[in-house]
């Protein structure tokens, strides 16, 4: 057993070729870790600048968590970071973000879901192939362009049409925001609906249901986790979108839920104020704190959304396996 013929020993690994393969493999492996690292670094470096809000006594002289949430000593809530007595109430920003997100979702979700149902259930193949690129086109419009359009054109139209007092308000910004939200809701929902196996529909038709009954009572419920995921991911997008809101909200930090009033969102506040905030000052840390908050909330929404997508996939795979087994007999 000790001696092998030379022809066999010729098959042993050569250090040089092993080395090359190792180097390549480690390069590739480490680049994959960069992806994980990127996400961690985002959290760490945004969080690092946000942390002084909780820990630094120098910052606490001007602002702390309690003062950001509770009513001001002077009464009420207000966001005035660059006045002689800086005020950092989050309530105006929260209400602003809330109302613009609601307006955007109230418009975007029905439209996107309706369109998704139409393309997956009713539309002939031709229309389907037209609408997909159209939605991609919509998704491809940079948000600064949508913001520009909302500010310059949409605001005027809405003001004229509804006789609004202010050009820039939550309706204008919300509709602009819907342009950014619709593609993501549509895409995820349409994927979910087309993932429903054809046998579901055939079964429903066989029971005498027509197409809308099938769509409404069979396909939509079956695709529900995916539809839900679409809404959650859309909400995440609306919550974090910056440029559209920045350009078309009026940026007035009002304490109001009236959609016809100007407002200011978390994301737009960061974009508008970070340039002027003194590096390392309380204002600077507050803005990073808002960023960390945005990150955590959107991260949560994304996790939830993708969890629902995964659940839909499991559900469909389980059911379609059953269905195909049944069909085989």
């Amino acid at each position: 057993m000790s001696s092998l013929p030379p022809a066999a020993e010729d098959l042993f690994l050569r250090p040089r070729s092993v080395l090359l393969e190792r180097i390549v493999e480690w390069t590739i492996r480490s680049s994959a870790f960069v992806v994980i690292a990127a996400l961690v670094l985002i959290f760490v470096f945004v969080g690092k600048e946000a942390l002084p809000i909780l820990t630094s006594s120098a910052v606490h002289e001007e602002v702390d968590l309690v003062r950001m949430v509770a009513p001001l000593e002077s009464g009420g809530f207000s966001w005035q970071p660059v006045s002689t007595v800086p005020k950092y109430s989050l309530l105006p920003l929260f209400l602003g973000t809330l109302k613009v997100t609601l307006v955007a979702l109230l418009f975007a979700i029905p439209v996107a879901l309706g369109a998704a149902i139409f393309t997956s259930e009713f539309a002939p193949q031709g229309i389907r192939e037209v609408l997909k690129p159209v939605v991609e086109l919509l998704a491809g419009i940079p948000s600064v362009v949508v913001g520009f359009f909302a500010l310059m054109v949409l605001a005027t139209w809405l003001q004229d049409a509804f006789g609004l007092l202010l050009r820039l308000n939550a309706i204008t910004a919300g509709l602009g925001l819907a342009v950014a939200v619709i593609p993501i809701v549509y895409t995820v929902a349409e994927d979910a609906l087309t993932a429903v196996p054809q046998v579901f529909r055939d079964g429903s038709f066989a029971l005498g249901a027509n197409r809308w009954q099938t769509a409404w009572r069979v396909v939509l419920p079956a695709a529900m986790p995916g539809v839900f995921a679409a809404c959650v991911l859309g909400a995440g997008r609306a919550f974090g979108e910056t440029m559209i809101v920045l350009m078309s909200s009026g940026n007035a930090p009002t304490v109001s839920l009236d959609p016809t009033e100007s407002f200011r969102s978390f994301s737009a506040t960061i974009a508008a104020e970070l340039g002027e905030a003194v590096h390392g000052g309380p204002h600077y840390h507050v803005l990073f704190f808002l960023g960390a908050f945005l990150f955590v909330v959107t991260f949560g929404l994304n996790l939830a959304g993708h969890w629902y997508v995964g659940r839909l996939r499991d559900k469909m795979q389980g059911k379609s396996r059953l269905a195909s087994r049944g069909g085989g007999r």
Binding site: L41, L138, F148, S267, T298
Partner: protein, 301 residues
């Protein structure tokens, strides 16, 4: 009863159809409005000249130049990284391993991080940590890279567009038949030889698509570059990695919101928006064509 059912069915179909029409209308109205108002101002001078009179006249060449330089730098960073990640996910890692799940999860969430958070990250990590560190190590504390500049803006965008490149590349790797890999392995190729000689040449199109989509995304993003390198106005073009730069999207934002006389600059503004759209859609369109070519070729083999 049956008439009522038919009526509801008709209503349901028309309502959902109307939703489709609304999406179509949005695209047509937005693009149409910009095309109608922006096209008259387009000229060779507009894209090749410097801005004049407080940017209310002249061209937008510096912004175009800055955008191109920015996305080229970004591409140089994101394509190798994204392609390597896709290769790892699809070729090197054991499928269903923990790491693969983690990387995919990270990619999904990276794609959902708001653009403005990328801006904060770029400022905190690249400009201050990496740039400040470079200055302390190599420039004796003199300010060189510890400031917003085109390098950091490009790297910030590279992180933002990473998922796009990975997804497109992985799709094209998936399209390479397994039998090709087996054939190459059975001929005594090492793993890297299989990659380099057989698989990667087949997926060049996917990488190209990924790069193009990343560029078209990166060219339109403003929030991440606001604090990491874009400048309001510069009398010179960026020549070094640590120069600031003008960029189309940021230019549009600044001109729209901070111009003293928006009405006067509106025609120029519209044309600038049109140029930005032409750049992003031009690239997107190229990606669509490249992708369909690949698919057709794959169907043939």
């Amino acid at each position: 009863m049956s008439r009522w059912i038919r009526f509801v069915g008709w209503l349901f179909t028309s309502l959902t159809g109307l939703c489709c029409l609304m999406i179509l209308a949005m695209v047509v109205i937005i693009l149409g409005d910009i095309l109608v108002h922006g096209a008259p101002g387009l000229s060779w001078e507009f894209v090749s000249a410097e801005p004049r009179v407080g940017m209310t006249e002249g061209g937008i060449f510096p912004a175009i130049f800055g955008t191109v330089a920015l996305v080229l730098l970004m591409t140089a960073a994101v394509v190798p990284l994204g392609v390597a990640t896709a290769i790892y996910l699809h070729e090197y890692a054991a499928q269903d391993s923990r790491v693969v799940h983690l990387v995919r999860l990270a990619l999904q969430n990276l794609a959902g991080v708001p653009a403005i958070v990328f801006g904060l990250f770029g400022l905190g990590f690249f400009v201050q940590f990496a740039g400040g560190g470079l200055d302390a190590l190599f420039f004796g504390g003199r300010l060189a890279f510890g400031q917003p500049c085109i390098l950091w803006a490009a790297l910030t965008l590279a992180v933002l567009t990473l998922p796009t490149v990975v997804v497109a590349t992985e799709e094209s790797l998936r399209a390479v038949p397994k039998s090709y890999r087996e054939a190459a392995y059975s001929m005594g190729a090492t793993r890297w030889q299989v990659m380099r000689r057989v698989v990667l040449p087949q997926s060049v199109g996917g990488m190209l698509t990924g790069a193009i989509l990343a560029i078209s995304r990166g060219a339109g993003e403003v929030a991440p570059i606001m604090f990491t390198g874009a400048a309001y106005y510069l009398p010179y073009l960026p020549k070094k990695l640590n120069d600031q730069f003008m960029e189309l999207g940021y230019h549009i934002y600044v001109m729209t919101t901070q111009s003293p006389d928006v009405e006067a600059t509106l025609p120029i503004l519209y044309s600038t928006v049109l140029v930005l759209l032409l750049v992003t859609f031009g690239l997107n369109f190229t990606a669509v064509i490249v992708r369909s070519r690949i698919r057709r070729r794959l169907r043939q083999t």
